[in-house]
Structures are given as structure tokens and as C-alpha cells.
């Protein structure tokens, strides 16, 4: 019997020939990512009593959760991180400037997300890097302090679910709709503790950005990691940027899966996750007419160039509805610069959009778009939990950039196929 991706990579990194679900292994990660929470991790690391981190070259820190600092406390956090980075010789530090952006986007753009790597991050959406064939998963602050100290972490070898994707997206339907469909079907705990492998001809046809959207949201169904087998698209994306050696690790043909699910993309329609649970999924057309106050396009799920392009194609020559605030946040400064070059930013501004600096601010209620009581927001983010955007009395709907742009245009939730 062969091994799944998770079994194969964990066995290899633990120096074992074979592992099975339920086994516990200890491995050294290839990279360890942190963001603004590095300040809290530094405190925990120092409390252990060690002088130096295990390997400064394997640590990546990207400031993104509240940038530029909205309060003195945030500013103090950032200052502590800058000092620590200098003290420890951590070279891969992306400060609040035009090299950075949302950590998951920057991590991929800078060539840290690589096939066959084990990557841990003190952010739940670290699972995004599975789009490049890495085993990538989120951990807490104490665990990260432990990784910085000892360079090791334990994992329970997960069971695996395979999701086979065939067909092509109909017009107005995107990777975000697909992952909402899957989470809606499986439930918010449908893949708890499990490894999710996406496969099939549809995946081969998907762009790197679309693959990142899928893997980004596997945590929303409880998964430990997502995985997409690297192909020529992956290799060409990382060709000139890879920061280190890598090795493509693929699941065995005869690997054993707990479940195999199949989806045909051509049968999908635009979907939306209603407040306050991610698996509360409905067709957009069933929600049409719900009035919105704010629309957000951005975040680690859908703030890439193609997402901004889709939004611009809908908003071009039109104005955002009166009374609606459309906030657009390019996922990185690289994305921002490209969007300027391609005149996407100009189209968005002309339509009435507010362009905010790359970062995570509004997605988790930090700043730049916190909601008032009773307000409704439609967002391209990955979570619609109560209070997520800073106010428990607000409502968050999640959808694709096309649905968000169409809704911003009409002032009410709108099926994008009506305006395409």
C-alpha cells in the first residue's frame, strides 16, 4: 500500500520508511513564518532562556496584520520585532514598506513556498502553500517559540481526503465559489485534522492564484493542510525565485484515502457564505437584494492581480453605488505595482474604490474598514465569524471578487452573471 502526500513527506522528514495516520512524528521545518505576532513569540522565546534562535535563515517574518501601525501598541510591537530581527540576524524580514504585503502572498512571491518543504506558520492560513506542493500548516505562538528554540515540531500523521476536480468554470464562477461549495458540503469541521489533496484535470487548468485560493481555505473546513501536486505551472512560477533547494514529493498511485470526493466545475454557480458560519453557503441568486454598506476586495484569499482584474472588468466605466464603501487591498506591493502598470488601480479609483496599503487590517477587525453596528459587508476574505471585522453586531458575507464587485456596483448582493 502506497502513501498519501502527508504520509510520504512526514515519513521522509522524520527519517522513517513508512508512517500511517495516527502516528506521531517529530520533524524540522524548512521554514517558519510569523507576522505581527512575532512580538508575542519573541517574549515567549526569551522566557525559555535561550540566546539565539535555532536557524535565522529558516525564519521568515512579514509585518501585515496592522500596517502601518494604527496605535502606539501596534507600533511598539513592530519596534520589538525590528530589534529582534537585527539582533538575531534574521535576513528574511519584510517590514512595513513596498517590499512587503500580506504574509502569505509575500511568502509565495519571494520563493519560500516550495515543493516538498515542511512549512509552519503562526497564522492559520499558512495552509496556502500547499498550492506549491508543500506540507504547510498553522501553529500557535508557544509552538512557534518552541520551533525558534529547538527547530522541531511534532505532528500527528493525518488521514487524507482526495478531492478530484473535473470540468471548467462557467462564466462568472471562480475558484472561490468552488471552495465555498466544498466547505458548504463538508461542513466547517468536515476535514478536521485531515490532509486535503486536490487533483484532477480542472486543477491542472487552474492558475497558481486559483490554486492558492483553494488551499488558503482548507483550514475553514478544519484541515491540517491542503496539497496540489506541482506541475509545469508550479515549476515555472518558482523557477527564478526559489530561495532554496526543493524536491517534488507526490502521493503514491495506490495511496489510501479516507474519502474521495468528485466535483464537476461546469455544474457550479456563484456562491456566498452567509453570517456567521463559513459553511452557511447559498447560491448568490438566493440572496439578491440584500443591502450592503461595505465591500472588501483583498486578503490572503483573493487580493491577487487576477482578482483585482476581475473586479475592474466589472467596475470599469461604472460607479460604486451611493452609500457603499468599496475597499480594495492588493495582497502585496508587487501586486499593487502590477495593478498600477496595467491601469487596474486607475479603473478602481475612478469607480469610487478606496485603495488601502497591502495588509490584513479589516479582515480581522484591526483597522482600515472596521464595521459599525448593524452594518453589512460583502468580502472576498475567508471568515465571516461574528465580530470578525471588529463588531459583533455586523454581518459579513463572503464571495468571489466578481460577486463582491457586482454587489458594490448595485449596492445590494448581486449575482455577477448579471453584470458581466
Amino acid at each position: 500500500m502506497g502513501m498519501t502526500f502527508a504520509e510520504k513527506i512526514l515519513a521522509k522528514k522524520a527519517g522513517l520508511l513508512k508512517v500511517k495516520p495516527g502516528d506521531v512524528v517529530t520533524v524540522e521545518p524548512d521554514r517558519a513564518l510569523s507576522h505581527d505576532n512575532a512580538a508575542a513569540i519573541i517574549k515567549l522565546f526569551k522566557s525559555i532562556g535561550l540566546e539565539k534562535v535555532w536557524n535565522p535563515k529558516k525564519i521568515v517574518i512579514v509585518l501585515d496584520h496592522a500596517v502601518p501601525a494604527p496605535t502606539d501598541k501596534h507600533a511598539d510591537n513592530h519596534k520589538q520585532i525590528r530589534r529582534f530581527v537585527a539582533e538575531q540576524g534574521i535576513e528574511y524580514f519584510y517590514d512595513v514598506n513596498s517590499d512587503g504585503g500580506v504574509c502569505h502572498q509575500v511568502f509565495c512571491e519571494e520563493g519560500f513556498a516550495l515543493p516538498g518543504h515542511v512549512i509552519v506558520g503562526s497564522d492559520s492560513h499558512t495552509c496556502t502553500y500547499g498550492a506549491f506542493g508543500a506540507f504547510a500548516t498553522g501553529i500557535g505562538r508557544s509552538e512557534m517559540a518552541g520551533v525558534w528554540a529547538l527547530g522541531e515540531i511534532w505532528f500527528r500523521v493525518p488521514e487524507s481526503i482526495k478531492i478530484d476536480l473535473e470540468g471548467v468554470f462557467p462564466e462568472g464562477v471562480y475558484a472561490k465559489d468552488l471552495i465555498l461549495r466544498i466547505i458548504g458540503d463538508l461542513g466547517a469541521d468536515g476535514a478536521d485534522y485531515k490532509s486535503v489533496e486536490f487533483s484532477g484535470s480542472a486543477i491542472r487548468n487552474m492558475s497558481i492564484s486559483e490554486r492558492m485560493t483553494l488551499c488558503n481555505m482548507v483550514i475553514e473546513m478544519g484541515a491540517k493542510n491542503g496539497f496540489i501536486e506541482p506541475d509545469e505551472k508550479t515549476l515555472s512560477y518558482i523557477e527564478d525565485i526559489a530561495k532554496s533547494e526543493f524536491e517534488v514529493i507526490k502521493p503514491d498511485e495506490d495511496a489510501s484515502y479516507e474519502r474521495i470526493l468528485r466535483y464537476n466545475l461546469s455544474k457550479l454557480e456563484p456562491l456566498i457564505a452567509k453570517p456567521h458560519n463559513i459553511d452557511n453557503v447559498s447560491p448568490v441568486k438566493d440572496l439578491e437584494g440584500v443591502k450592503i454598506d461595505q465591500a472588501l476586495i483583498g486578503t490572503c484569499t483573493n487580493g491577487r492581480l487576477d482578482d483585482l482584474k476581475i473586479a475592474a472588468s466589472i467596475l470599469k466605466g461604472n460607479k460604486v453605488a451611493k452609500g457603499v464603501r468599496l475597499i480594495v487591498i492588493p495582497a502585496s506591493w508587487k501586486v499593487y505595482k502590477e495593478a498600477i502598470k496595467e491601469r487596474i488601480i486607475e479603473i478602481l479609483i475612478e469607480s469610487g474604490a478606496i485603495i488601502a496599503p497591502p495588509g490584513c487590517g479589516p479582515c480581522m477587525g484591526n483597522h482600515l474598514g472596521v464595521l459599525a453596528s448593524g452594518e453589512v459587508c460583502i468580502s472576498t476574505a475567508n471568515r465571516n465569524f461574528k465580530g470578525r471585522m471588529g463588531n459583533p453586531e455586523s454581518q459579513i458575507y463572503l464571495a468571489s471578487p466578481a460577486t463582491v464587485a457586482a454587489s458594490a456596483l448595485k449596492g445590494v448582493i448581486t449575482d455577477p452573471r448579471e453584470v458581466l
Partner: protein
């Protein structure tokens, strides 16, 4: 080790944002201050009225969402004796153990107890005792998890391991 306390009962998919809102993530760093916001967006009475040893009983997927460890820290600091749920989200589960907060998977308890009832957990025997005399078993913690819990969390556990304490 045994813990006896009143039950606080919540439903399915209790996420990390309602346990500890994201807006406090970088402005509240003192654990005692964190504790004041525990479950704020779900049950504002909780942080005010919970007593040391009290036990949270919840449905499936407790702690889904963020990797934010404060969701476990705020409960630990308030003295929550254990969280018993039908199932847990994995990052929260690890974070809880790493904070020295016992997390117990026992789906049968949910329908067996009501809010305010006093229940008792025996960690050594892996048993839960309800007021009507019933006893429920849960899977014992693996040895290395027990080691972390007994040391009071991951950081003290690492310190002990590398001889810093």
C-alpha cells in the same frame, strides 16, 4: 488530578473570534487583561461570572478559525478546569494543550448535562462524573501530551527539557 466545576454550555463551531476577538490581538498582551474578553462576542456574562474550576461543554469543532493562542490563554487564565467538546479544531486543540488547558473529546457529555450543573473530571482515570451518578469515559491523553499538561504548558515543558529550570 481531578477538577470539579459548574458547566457552561455552548453549541457547535464556537470559533476563535468569539472566544477572543481579533481586534484585541495586538493591543492586549497581559494575560489577565486577555481573560476579561473571554467569549465576549458570544456570552458577555461568562468572563464576569466564571469561577475557577468551571468546565465548558460544547458541541462539535470547538475553537475553529484562527491560530490565535489567546483563545486558549484567556480561558486558562480564568481558571477554566477543562473544555469538553464533541470535537475540537486542531490548532485550538494544540494551543490549549500548549497552554496547559485540558481539552477532552467526549461527544456523549453534551446531552447529559445542563448549564450550571456541577460535574467532575478525573484526568488520571479518564472519567467524567455527572450529578445524576452517570460516568463517562474519554480517551486518555498520550504520554507526551500528559507531560506538557503536567508541566503547565509547552514553554515550561521546553524549559524543563533543556534544563533551564
Amino acid at each position: 488530578m481531578r477538577v470539579k466545576g459548574r458547566v457552561w454550555k455552548y453549541g457547535d463551531d464556537i470559533n476563535t473570534d468569539v472566544i477572543f476577538p481579533g481586534k484585541y490581538t495586538y493591543v492586549v498582551s497581559d494575560p489577565l487583561e486577555m481573560a476579561k474578553h473571554a467569549l465576549e462576542d458570544l456570552d458577555p456574562s461568562f468572563a464576569k461570572e466564571v469561577k475557577s474550576g468551571d468546565i465548558i461543554v460544547a458541541g462539535k469543532n470547538f475553537g475553529c478559525g484562527s491560530s490565535r493562542e489567546q483563545a486558549a490563554t484567556c480561558l486558562k487564565v480564568l481558571g477554566v478546569g477543562a473544555v469538553i467538546a464533541k470535537s475540537f479544531a486542531r490548532i485550538f486543540y494544540r494551543n490549549a494543550i500548549n497552554q496547559g488547558l485540558p481539552v477532552i473529546q467526549c461527544p456523549e457529555i453534551f446531552d447529559a448535562v445542563e448549564k450550571g450543573e456541577e460535574i467532575e473530571v478525573d484526568f488520571k482515570e479518564s472519567k467524567i462524573f455527572t450529578p445524576d451518578g452517570r460516568v463517562f469515559n474519554f480517551p486518555p491523553f498520550p504520554d507526551f501530551v500528559r507531560g506538557i499538561l503536567e508541566d503547565g504548558g509547552l514553554i515550561p515543558h521546553i524549559k524543563r527539557r533543556i534544563g533551564k529550570e
